[in-house]
Structure formats: C-alpha cells, structure tokens
Symmetry: C2
Subunit: 376 residues, 2 copies
Amino acid sequence: MDFRILSKDPETQARTGLLKLPHGEVKTPVFMPVGTAASVKGIHQNELAVELNVPIILGNTYHIYLRPGIDTIHRAGGLHRFMNWERALLTDSGGYQVFSLTGQRKLTEEGALFQSHIDGSKHLFTPENIVSIQRKIGADIIMAFDECTPFPCDHKYALNSMELTHRWLDRGIKQFLETDPVYDFQQVLFPIVQGSIYPDLRKISAEKIASSGMAGHAIGGLSVGEPEDEMYSMVEIVNSILPENKPRYLMGVGTPVNIIESVALGIDMFDCVIPTRNGRNGMLFTANGIINIKNEKWKDDFSPVDMEGNSFVDTQYSRAYLRHLIISKEMLGAQIASIHNLGFYSWLMQEIRNQIEKGTFRGWKDQMKKKLSKRL
Amino acid sequence: MDFRILSKDPETQARTGLLKLPHGEVKTPVFMPVGTAASVKGIHQNELAVELNVPIILGNTYHIYLRPGIDTIHRAGGLHRFMNWERALLTDSGGYQVFSLTGQRKLTEEGALFQSHIDGSKHLFTPENIVSIQRKIGADIIMAFDECTPFPCDHKYALNSMELTHRWLDRGIKQFLETDPVYDFQQVLFPIVQGSIYPDLRKISAEKIASSGMAGHAIGGLSVGEPEDEMYSMVEIVNSILPENKPRYLMGVGTPVNIIESVALGIDMFDCVIPTRNGRNGMLFTANGIINIKNEKWKDDFSPVDMEGNSFVDTQYSRAYLRHLIISKEMLGAQIASIHNLGFYSWLMQEIRNQIEKGTFRGWKDQMKKKLSKRL
C-alpha cells in the first residue's frame, strides 16, 4: 500500500490523497459503500464500478464468516473472486457486529464468544483468528479486532475496554506480521482507536495506535448514538495525534454533513449504511437537501428523481414513480434509491476533493452544510 | 393493431407472427414479463429493454388502480410515461385479482364489489369502468372484465359464470366502441374465453369470443390448479374455434414446457409470474434443466450461473455466489435470478420462433421437453 497526500486545505485539516492498493487506486477522501454479506444491497457489481465509479467497498467479516463461510470464500479464491469485484475491498474485524448484533456474547481476555444471529451456533473470535479469517477473505485492507463500546458507557468501562482492545491489537499485529497473505497480493492491517467520548482515553488510544507502525489508522466507537459535537471533538483530538502521512478512516460515518465536517478534521476514509439503508426507506440525499419520497407532496411530481443527479436512475425515473415503488415495497424502489444515494455520495466526495484542491473547501463546506440539511 | 402470420409449422398448430402495436413490433410467439405494480420486480426498465430485449410487458389493472391510483397514472400521461417504458404494454382486467386476492368480494350482475387488500377500502369493478380505467392506464392491449373460475368448479357454476362473463363482454365492448383513447394512440380490447375444464362450455365460449369482432382473443381460467392435460385439451378445443388470423393469448401460462406445448396448439402470447417469482425463490430455468440454487450441491460451484445463458448475470456471477445471495435473502440474489430467468424465457421464445420458421419445431419440442424438465 502506498498513500500520498496530494493537496492540503489551508484553512482546515482537510487533504486529498491517493491510496494505492493491490486492487486499484483510491482517491481520498473516499466513501466506501457497505457490502455486508458480499453484496451492496440491491446493486449489481457492474453498476457499482461503471455507473457509480466506486473504487472500494467494505465487507463485514462477521456476516461473511457465518455465511457463506470462510471455507467457501477460500475455495473461491477470496472475496474478490467470490463476488466478482475487481476493485479494492476493506473488511471490518467483526467486533462491532459481535457486540451489537448478537444477543449472546461473552467477552474474555482471549476474545469474544458469541452465538450466530442466523442459527444460534457458537463461535469464538480472537485477535489472532480474526486476522487469519481476513487473510482468507483477502481484502486489500483488514481491520484489527476491537471492542466497540456502546453509548453511553462510563469512564471505567471505557478505560478497561480500551486497554483490552490495545492488548488485542498487540496480539493481532503479531499474528499479522507472522503470517503471509493467502493470495498473491499484500494486505495491510489498520488498528482502531477507541476510548468512547473521553478525551483522556482517546489521547492514550491514539498514541498507542499511532505507534503501532501500521500503514493506516481507524477511529472506531463513534457514531454510536453520541451527540455529533462529541464525535467531532473526539475526531479532532485523535487526528491531532495520528500521523499526517497515513490514511485516517472514521468507521461507520455518516450523513453528508458528518462527512464534510469530518473531512475538515482530516479524515480520509468513510463507510456507512446510511445511503443504502435510508434509501430503501425512501430518504434521498441531493445537493439541494433531503427528500422523504414517501411524502404526499411527491405523489404527482413527474419531474426526474434528481435533475442534478448523475446516475441513470436520476433522469430515467420520476419522483412520483419512485414514491409509488417505495410505498408499494417494490424492490425496484430500493434499487433506484440506493443507486441514487450512492451516486450522490460519489459526487459529494468528488466535489470535496475538487474544493480542497482549489483551496475553496472551507467556504464551500459552510454553504453546503445548510443546503444538505434542508428538508425538501 | 396489425397481426400477420409469418410462418406455420407443418406438423403442429404452431405459427410465428408479427404483431404491430402503437409501442412497437412484437414477434410471436411472445412471452410477456409481469409488471404487477408498474414494475417487473427487481429489474430496471433499461435492463428489460436493452439486456433482455423484451418487446411487451403486462401490468395488473387491479394493483395499479389501487396504487398509485388511476388519477396519478392519468396525470402522468399514462402507464408508459409513469414507469418510463416505451415499448408495448398489455393490462389485464383485474378480474383474476378480484376473485383470487381479495378476501371480501361480492359478485352481482352489475360487476364485482371488493375490498382493497391494502387498506380494506371498498371498490366496484364493472365491465364498463374496467374499460375506462384501462383507457386511462393506456396499455396497447386491454382486456375485457371476466370472472376467472377457480379449480375445481362444478359445471353449473362454470356455466353461470361463463354466461355472466359473456354478458359482461357485450357491455365491455359497447363501452370500448363508444369511447375514444385517452392518449394519442389506438388501443385494442381482447375478450377472454372461459368455461373451466368443460369442453361444451369452452366451445360455447370460444364461439362467443370468436364472433366478438375484436382484434385478438384470450383464453382465461386455465393454469389455476387443473391437471396439465386438461389445460392442453381445453386450449386445443378453443383454438379449433378461434380464428387463425388473430393472435391467441393464453393467460397466466406458464413453465417452459407449458409454453412449448401451448405454442404447438397455436398459442401466440403468454404471461406468467413463474420466471420472476420462482427466480426469487431460487429456481433457475436453463436449456439443460431446472436448478434449485438453494441446494447444497451448488455451495462451492464457482462456475458461471449459466454457461449457455446470454444475459450479463449468467457470466458475471457464479452459482455459489447466487446460492449465497438467495439463502441470505439479499436483494441482489432475486435480481440476478429474475434477470437470468427472463433472459432464458427470451431465448426460449426466440428459439421457438426459429424452430417454427425452419420447420423443425415438432422434433425440437420433443427433445427440449425432456431437457427442460430435468432437475440439475
């Protein structure tokens, strides 16, 4: 992996960069659509690549491990081949899912024992086997196993959890360094800063992660219900410690406004289910604000989904038609809304990069924030 | 509308033809994918047109009438514009849905009073308003209002029902002839032969429908649970009476084998939810037989979905991947299976037309039937 900063905004911490991965080059800041179970819901791989020009997607280790299972992925020659996705991939570590999705789980020094949400079967994730599992999945970027603390969470819990995550990180890095890739390309491991909303813990964690010697760094445990200001303030503290010359990935974020604010704080990578999940429920993001397509006001609006949008769904279908499909729970409604929203996110990231390169990011951001939050 | 027979099979009643409609030319025999609620589930309009080369689809009047409602469709300028489908459209009359979907319905001489399956609201369909509703929907081909008898159904019920359908037909034709199209193209009305599985009734009904003077004829009340041989035998009786020079549409049929057998009996048009609905449940039709993709045997089969298939999904995705998606209830699984199956149906109809034109249909059909029924 190679990461090069291409330009810096003079007024904020925003920067553009180029991330070279075995499966292609990624311009940063970048948004990664979420392909939980080896599929970005409702979207064909060729639509992601050609129509939406997505350079990297995220897969969830927890889901892929449970189904179709690591043996099948391994026999397929890795997740890229299994799902026929030739561009870059990042897999998370499963920590977030184990702690949020499964009813039964038990945390020990060794790792996390949990029951599958699918069939109740018991499994153990450890810092070591999570590396080995992600070796077999074969993403370009893999994540260290961490405990993602809930919100709210008291200082003592957050401290103990962070220390456990740090001990797990040492074990994960050891496993990573002592093992070879399963396929014919190199992978990189990103460690994850934790510490809930406590500045002292975030500082300690950022220092630990910064000293790990890994190729990139992630910030976890945010966007889990805390006020947005707390999130930004944690990101600011952490980014003041994480080295500038490595990519910074803010996990699970976020809305368009969250993204432009976090870019201003020096974040380079994002992933979130919002554009696809909220899209399926009828929420459309546009450069002029948010549309709730279920609203009665769109019933007879036969104008295009988004006159300024640049994916084919924006001009081929009307708002009235999309409203009808979403209300009728027709699959095509979810497909159209998901493509529209991911197309908008692609545009947003491109525009963010343009504005940073032109040195006009700060002013544009303040204007854009108002427009993006508007309810149409 | 213009219908021209292009070739006749010397050994069966099969024929090829060209149906000219306001929204394009349709080569027959043709299969019409079902777009119940103004969408063929899981498939974009451009995929239907460009990828699957579908010349005509079917919309369900009952569903469209209830949601988005006829006023919205009218304001949109008709269903073609509402859903952005530029090729031909056929709408059914709602009779089948009223009698099969709704819990509460009451049949009178006037029409059918029923409750919406969506919100329980009460509505009345009559032979007259069903014509007016389909004028506003604006399909190229519209259907007369009929009672679709269930199976089994005793002779007395079938007789009374058929006579009611015939009286309704007279009223529907009167309404059709006395009204103008709502948009700038002509529509045609197809009457429907009923009579359950009773040869005497099917003969009477076919004679009534043949003498209606309409541009094409449909056969209803079949493929509702009766043995396949009964269905073929009814089709044979009816087709011996319906004039040769007008298109014959067998409603709601069917499997690939049903289609080739019915083509041999002189049917020109088909519609059915099987390729899409069964596809969503993991049943794939191929030229070599039927695949239940949920079967364990495909778990690690990384070969293409259908090596002989001609839609993009056939070569871009593997059987193992499709199995994973269908079992995981991922939308993309339903999308892939639906496109595959409709692609197969398109191929099948093209091949049927080729074989008829070459005069080799009969031998091909007997070979093909065995292959198509095989479980892979």
